[in-house]
Symmetry: C2
Subunit: 273 residues, 2 copies
């Protein structure tokens, strides 16, 4: 099936998921849409996140995508179920893959979750984890400084280390978790800082790798894998500054971003069509 796979995110964070998707599914073509202009979604209301997400989805549906990846935890927390109920293509979020991966590696069933205010307030991770195993104990923590820090390119150095240490302090004082889910697609960019702060005995889960694996399984399971021999062409859309997007994207991918377009979403319908 040569149709492309749509990937949506509030901005550039979802590129960590896209990179894994392209690495694990090298025959597939991806359309990436980052709503950079209206990023971050974390502090926004549920209603707003749902409207923005539907605008992205409706934009990509016109491009005949065969699968949708919601590469943003906040959007997944608020819209995944609604999208799955309304679309007739497979829809994969980033929360359940992270939850299943954590259940796989945790030995003591005490799992930490960090994310944006929206993701943590939604309790989507505790729900996903406990629907599979109700004996799991969860410590979750909103980390509002992390997304702006990553967006500003502050990925290392004493100041970044200080912010990470101060923000994670409440989690370190709590129960003895053995696994920590990075519940925001920006966080893999500071995975090293988080790992150092939490200690090497903690297994840190990036949902990008896990989501890519689950996408691969669903494509295969539903017979949707691309069989064509041609090299895929990926397309990127941003609602914000193109040069800023290009520079981040180029630093993350092995090959330069070829097709990049600036788009407007304000006239796209903000609910199911």
């Amino acid at each position: 099936m040569k149709r492309p796979i749509g990937v949506i995110d509030s901005g550039v964070g979802g590129l960590t998921v896209a990179r894994e998707l392209m690495r694990q599914l090298p025959k597939e073509a991806f359309l990436y849409l980052g709503d950079t202009q209206r990023c971050p979604y974390g502090p926004r209301s549920e209603q707003e996140v749902r409207a923005f997400t539907w605008q992205m989805v409706n934009y990509l549906l016109r491009k005949n995508i065969k699968m949708l990846i919601v590469a943003c935890n906040t959007a997944t927390a608020y819209t995944l179920q609604e999208l799955q109920e309304n679309l007739d293509i497979p829809v994969i979020g980033v929360i359940e893959p992270g939850a299943r991966a954590a259940i796989k590696v945790s030995q003591n069933k005490r799992i930490g979750v960090i994310g944006t205010e929206g993701t943590i307030q939604s309790k989507a991770y505790p729900r996903a984890l406990q629907s599979i195993d109700e004996n799991i104990r969860i410590n979750d923590l909103a980390c509002p400084p992390f997304v702006p820090m990553v967006e500003d390119g502050m990925l290392s150095g004493p100041e970044a280390e200080g912010i990470v240490a101060r923000t994670l302090q409440p989690l370190k004082n709590m129960n003895h978790i053995d696994t920590l889910i990075l519940g925001c697609t920006h966080y893999p960019l500071i995975k090293g800082l988080v790992q150092n702060e939490m200690g090497n005995h903690i297994q840190v889960i990036s949902s990008g790798e896990e989501t890519a694996r689950e996408a691969s399984l669903i494509l295969s399971y539903q017979g949707l894998l691309n069989q064509s021999e041609e090299d895929p062409v990926h397309e990127f859309y941003t609602t914000g500054n193109m040069e800023k997007f290009r520079s981040v994207a180029n630093s993350w991918f092995d090959q330069p971003v070829q097709v990049l377009k600036r788009i407007r979403l304000d006239h796209v319908q903000s609910s199911a069509i």
Copy 2:
């Protein structure tokens, strides 16, 4: 959905998969059927493996299972597609999960596979790997001594180390793989020996953990997860010696095997019904 999940294997090796299934899906009830009497399947013809597998499947279908896990690589290699085409419940094998996990972790795209003669001759792993990424290079090797070694309980010591070293020699002399798939559900029992022999720079993939994760995803994706609060009761069936089976099973599970029955399969239909 309170219906149980069926797990079939040529013998006791699939218990490594069952253990992971029970750990990662603690609310689900499993029916495990091990064809111990006719084990090993590795050296048998495709026709024979298919007939034996259908007998196991038809036996479990009568018990109203909601999903089937083929926890035997040889049976998966020969029958998975046929089972998926003929059954109206989800059918999961152990080969694709292992392949996807290897693609996730391999950095240099050179992947080793070890398994029984049947599994290696079928080329099921190279097919699964290359259908996703045709640039992957594969070195596969049949290891006939490993299943009898594990069945005899020889899991450590100088003799076991010697057998593993001699058997794996051809793989060590080949291309520089960075990932090795244990393509037989008996092999996780000697994972330590294999890891020592291959070196710590090789990532060793056990398909049990991966299969359990994929089963979890498919159950969730299809709305089949058990929502009941009752503790599940697992049942075990063997075609061979009950005491031998019980002793292996008890040594692998946290709690003693409660329900264990000896069954006969020779009168069960050996093809799709």
